[in-house]
C-alpha cells in the first residue's frame, strides 16, 4: 500500500512507528481510519463553532440594540494594537502548523518539531500578552464583567458592563482553547520526536492542526468584532 521507502534503508531495519502503524481492528484500512478521524474532527469543530456562536449571538443582540454604546466601548476599553499583534501571531502559528503537517507528509521529522515549536511559542506569546497586557490591567481597574464592573465616575454608555461581559467570557473561553492547543501541540511534538509522524500516518497531527486553525478562525472574528467594530 505504502509507496514510501528510502534508498538507504535495509530490509532488516526495524520500521519507524509511522511506517509500522496498524489501523484499529474495526477499520478496513488506514486510509478509511484517517478519513474517519478527520470527519470526526470536522464534526467536533462544528460543535466548537456553534459553541462560540453563543457569544457571537449575545454580541449581536446587544451590538444591534446599542450600536453607539458598543462601538465606543470597543474603542475605549480595548487596545486595537494588542489585538492586531495577537492576530498576526496567531496567523503565523496557523501557518507554521500547516508547514508542520506538510513536513510530516514529506517525512521530515526535524521540520515538524521546529514548526510545532514556533507554533507553541506563538500560542504562549498570545496567552502572555492577553494576561499581562489585557486581563491584569482590567482586573486592577475593576473593568470586570457585569455586576462586578467598577463604576468610576466617568461618562460611559449604559451597557458597557455587558460589553465587558461578552469580551471577558468570549476571550477567556478562546484563551482556554489556546491553552488546550498548547498541550495538544506539545503532545504532537512528543509523538513527532518519537517518529510517530510520517507520510503513511500523521492523523493526530493533522487533526490537532485543524483544531488549531479553528482557534485561529475564531480569533479572526473576535478581533474585529470586539476591538474594532
Amino acid at each position: 500500500m505504502s509507496s514510501i521507502t528510502t534508498k538507504d534503508l535495509t530490509a532488516d531495519r526495524d520500521l519507524l512507528p509511522w511506517e509500522a502503524y496498524v489501523p484499529g481492528h474495526h477499520w478496513r484500512n488506514a486510509e478509511d481510519e484517517a478519513e474517519g478521524a478527520k470527519l470526526g474532527m470536522w464534526l467536533f469543530l462544528s460543535t466548537e463553532v456553534l459553541l462560540f456562536m453563543g457569544f457571537f449571538t449575545a454580541y449581536a443582540a446587544f451590538r444591534m440594540k446599542f450600536p453607539g454604546n458598543w462601538y465606543e466601548a470597543a474603542h475605549y476599553y480595548l487596545d486595537w494594537q494588542i489585538g492586531a499583534i495577537n492576530t498576526c501571531v496567531l496567523l503565523l502559528s496557523s501557518w507554521t502548523v500547516v508547514m508542520a503537517v506538510r513536513a510530516a507528509q514529506l517525512a521530515k521529522r526535524r521540520q515538524i518539531l521546529v514548526y510545532l515549536a514556533i507554533t507553541n511559542l506563538c500560542a504562549l506569546f498570545f496567552l502572555a500578552t492577553k494576561l499581562i497586557l489585557e486581563y491584569w490591567p482590567k482586573i486592577q481597574k475593576g473593568k470586570l464583567p457585569g455586576a462586578n464592573f467598577a463604576y468610576t465616575g466617568e461618562v460611559q454608555g449604559a451597557h458597557d458592563h455587558i460589553f465587558l461581559s461578552v469580551y471577558w467570557i468570549s476571550t477567556a473561553t478562546h484563551g482556554f482553547h489556546v491553552l488546550v492547543g498548547v498541550f495538544l501541540i506539545s503532545w504532537c511534538m512528543i509523538k513527532a520526536a518519537k517518529n510517530h509522524y510520517g507520510p503513511k500516518h500523521y492523523t493526530s497531527l493533522e487533526n490537532v492542526a485543524l483544531y488549531w486553525h479553528l482557534v485561529d478562525v475564531i480569533w479572526i472574528f473576535l478581533f474585529p468584532l470586539l476591538y474594532l467594530a
Partner: protein, 588 residues
C-alpha cells in the same frame, strides 16, 4: 480473527476481577450500550419517582393544616400535601411549594437530560447501530467509552444537586428566576446538564462517522435499516444543536457566579435572549428524543408485519427533513414574549414539521395493508406508539396556531401534548424496541404473556393519565402549579389514578425482564424473522459482532424478494453462510 473473539460479548472472563475490568475498561460498543441502558433505566426510575410525587401532590387542590405559631395561637394555613414545616435550609424554613417545585424540576431535568435524550441513541443505538451496519464497532470506540463516563460524571453532578437541596427552577432554567433563586443547588444541576450535553455530542459524532465510513461491503445508503437513518438524523441534531446548550448553560453558570448580566434584566440584560439560546437547542432536542423512536417504530412494523415498509425512501428522507426543520421552529416557545413579527415567522415555520411527520405515520399505516402481522409485545407497542404519537402530533397544530396558542401556552394542554409525544411516542417506542431486541442482546427470551399484559396496562394507564390533561389545559389550568382551584380536582384525580396504574404496568415490565435475565429461555438467532444484519449474528452477539465481515446482498425489508413464500423468515438465512465457511476452515 478467530478464537476468543468468537465468544459472546457477555461471556465472563477467567476471574471476577478480569470480568469487572472487561466492563469498566471496555471499548466494545455493545457493553457500553448495556452500561448506558442500565444507567438510563436507573434515571427513568428516579424520574418516575419524582413524577409520582408530582401526581400525588396534585391529588388534592390544597391542604389546610393547623399551624401552631410561636405564641401558641393555632391558625389554619393552606399548604401542599408534602408539607413538612420545620425543615430548614440555610437557617430558614423551606416554603411548602418548594418541595413540589423541586419534584417537577427533578422529574423534568432527569427525564430529559438523563433518560430520554440518551435512551434510544446511546443505549439501543450503541448496541445495534454498528451491528445493523455490519461493522465491528463504532468509529471511535474509546470516545464511546469516554462519553459513557462523561454521562456518569454528569449524572453524579445531578445527584449531588439533588442531595444538596434540589433544584426548583424548572428544567428550562429560565432567567432571571434561575439566576436569582436562593433555593437549592441550581449551579450544580446546570453544570450537570452542561456535562451531559458533551456525552450526547460525542455519541452523535461517533454515529455519523460510523454510518459514513463503516458500512459493510455492499450496503448502500438505501440498504440501511430505517433505525440507522433515524439515529443518523438524530446525530446530526446532536452535533449541531447541543453545543449551543453547552454555551447557554455555561453562560448561565457565569451569570450565577459572576453576575455577567447578559441574561439578567436587573443588570440591563435581556431575559428573553436566554430563552432563544435555550430553545435553539431544546427544540431540536425534542427531535433528538422522538426521531430514534420513529426509527424503532419502522423496524418493529416491518419485522412484525413481515413486510417491506411502505415508502422506505419517504421515511428515510423525512427523518433528515425533520432534522433540518427542527432548527427553524424554536421561537414557538416564546409566543407570549416575542414580537408579532417573530411570532408569525415561527408559527409558519412550525407547521412545516408536521408534513414529514405525517408522511411517516401514513407510511407505517400503509404497511399494515396485506401484511402478516404478529401481535406480540413489540408490535403491540408499535401500534400503541402510532396511536399515542398521532394524538401527540395532532395536538401540535393548536399550539403552532397563534390564535389558539395564546390560550393554551403554559397550560396542561402543553403538558399533555408533549407527554403524548415524549412518553406516548419515545417511551412506548423504546419499550417496544427493548422487547424487540431483548433476545438479541441478552440472549434470553422473556415471558410473552406477561409482557403483553404489561404493555396493555401501560397503554391504557398512559391514556388515562394524560388525556384528561388536554381538558385541564383548555379549561385554563396553568402548568407547574402546586395548588389549584377546586373545579379542576376531578380531572387531576383521574390523572393521578392513571399514573398509579402506569406504575403498576412498569413494575410488571421490570419483573418480566428480571425473570428473563434469571430464568429466560435461550434466544434463537432470529426470533422474529428480521432481515437486517443484527439477526444474522449470534444471540447474544460475539465480541466482534460477526464471525466474518458480512456482505450485504439484500435490503433490510426485502421480505417479498428474499424470503421464498413457503419459508418462515425466522429460519432465514438458511443456513448461516458464516457457519458454513467456518466448517470449511475458511478464516480470512
Amino acid at each position: 480473527m478467530s478464537g476468543h473473539h468468537d465468544v459472546s460479548y457477555l461471556a465472563p472472563k477467567d476471574t471476577l476481577w478480569k470480568t469487572i475490568w472487561s466492563w469498566v475498561y471496555t471499548v466494545d460498543h455493545k457493553k457500553i450500550g448495556v452500561m448506558y441502558l442500565s444507567a438510563i433505566l436507573l434515571a427513568f426510575f428516579l424520574g418516575g419517582v419524582a413524577a409520582m410525587a408530582v401526581r400525588l401532590e396534585l391529588w388534592a387542590p390544597t391542604q389546610t393544616v393547623l399551624e401552631r405559631a410561636n405564641d401558641g395561637t393555632v391558625t389554619p394555613v393552606t399548604r401542599g400535601v408534602f408539607l413538612d414545616p420545620g425543615i430548614k435550609e440555610n437557617g430558614k424554613e423551606v416554603p411548602p411549594n418548594v418541595w413540589y417545585n423541586r419534584a417537577f424540576t427533578l422529574h423534568g431535568a432527569i427525564m430529559v437530560f438523563l433518560f430520554i435524550i440518551p435512551s434510544i441513541p446511546a443505549a439501543l443505538g450503541n448496541i445495534f447501530l454498528p451491528i445493523m451496519l455490519g461493522a465491528k464497532d463504532v468509529a471511535f470506540p474509546r470516545l464511546n467509552l469516554f462519553s459513557w463516563y462523561v454521562y456518569v460524571f454528569g449524572g453524579l453532578f445531578a445527584i449531588y444537586s439533588i442531595l444538596a437541596g434540589g433544584v426548583e427552577t424548572g428544567w428550562t432554567f429560565y432567567t432571571p428566576y434561575s439566576t436569582t433563586t436562593e433555593w437549592g443547588a441550581t449551579t450544580a444541576m446546570v453544570l450537570a446538564a452542561f456535562i451531559l450535553g458533551f456525552s450526547s455530542i460525542f455519541t452523535g459524532m461517533n454515529f455519523i462517522v460510523t454510518v459514513h465510513k463503516l458500512r459493510a461491503p455492499g450496503m448502500g445508503w438505501f440498504d440501511m435499516p430505517l433505525f440507522v437513518w433515524a439515529v443518523y438524523a438524530t446525530a446530526i441534531i446532536q452535533v449541531l444543536a447541543t453545543p449551543v446548550l453547552g454555551i447557554t448553560l455555561l453562560m448561565l453558570v457565569f451569570e450565577r457566579l459572576f453576575k455577567i448580566g447578559i441574561f439578567d434584566p436587573a443588570l440591563g440584560g435581556d431575559a428573553v435572549l436566554f430563552q432563544h439560546f435555550f430553545w435553539f437547542y431544546s427544540h431540536p432536542a425534542v427531535y433528538i428524543m422522538i426521531l430514534p423512536g420513529f426509527g424503532i417504530a419502522s423496524e418493529l412494523i416491518a419485522v412484525h408485519c413481515r413486510k417491506r415498509l411502505f415508502g422506505y425512501k419517504a421515511i428515510a428522507f423525512s427523518s433528515i427533513a425533520i432534522a433540518a426543520i427542527s432548527f427553524l421552529v424554536w421561537g414557538h416557545h416564546m409566543f407570549l414574549s416575542e414580537t408579532a413579527a417573530a411570532n408569525i415567522v415561527f408559527s409558519g415555520l412550525t407547521f412545516l414539521v408536521a408534513i414529514p411527520t405525517a408522511i411517516k405515520v401514513f407510511n407505517w399505516l400503509a404497511t399494515f395493508y396485506k401484511a402478516s402481522i404478529s401481535w406480540n409485545t413489540p408490535m403491540l407497542y408499535a401500534a400503541f406508539f402510532i396511536f399515542c404519537f398521532t394524538i401527540g402530533g395532532l395536538t401540535g397544530p393548536p399550539l403552532a396556531t397563534l390564535a389558539t396558542d395564546i390560550h393554551l401556552h403554559d397550560t396542561y394542554f402543553v403538558v399533555a401534548h408533549f407527554h403524548y409525544v415524549m412518553m406516548g411516542g419515545t417511551v412506548l417506542a423504546f419499550m417496544g424496541g427493548l422487547h424487540h431486541w431483548w433476545p438479541k442482546f441478552t440472549g434470553r427470551m422473556y415471558n410473552e404473556f406477561w409482557a403483553r399484559v404489561a404493555s396493555v396496562i401501560v397503554f391504557i394507564a398512559f391514556n388515562i393519565t394524560f388525556f384528561v390533561q388536554f381538558f385541564l389545559g383548555t379549561q385554563g389550568m396553568p402548568r407547574r402549579y402546586a395548588t389549584y382551584d377546586e373545579h379542576f380536582q376531578l380531572l387531576h384525580q383521574i390523572s393521578t389514578a392513571g399514573a398509579l396504574l402506569l406504575l403498576v404496568g412498569f413494575l410488571i415490565h421490570a419483573a418480566v425482564f428480571a425473570q428473563s435475565l434469571v430464568a429466560g429461555a435461550k434466544a434463537p438467532k432470529n426470533p422474529w424473522g428480521g432481515l437486517s444484519l443484527e439477526w444474522e449474528t449470534e444471540s447474544p452477539p460475539v465480541e466482534h459482532n460477526f464471525h466474518r465481515e458480512p456482505v450485504v446482498t439484500h435490503g433490510p425489508y426485502d421480505y417479498d424478494t428474499v424470503v421464498p413464500a413457503h419459508v418462515d423468515p425466522r429460519d432465514y438465512p438458511l443456513p448461516d453462510p458464516a457457519e458454513v465457511r467456518r466448517v470449511h476452515g475458511d478464516h480470512h
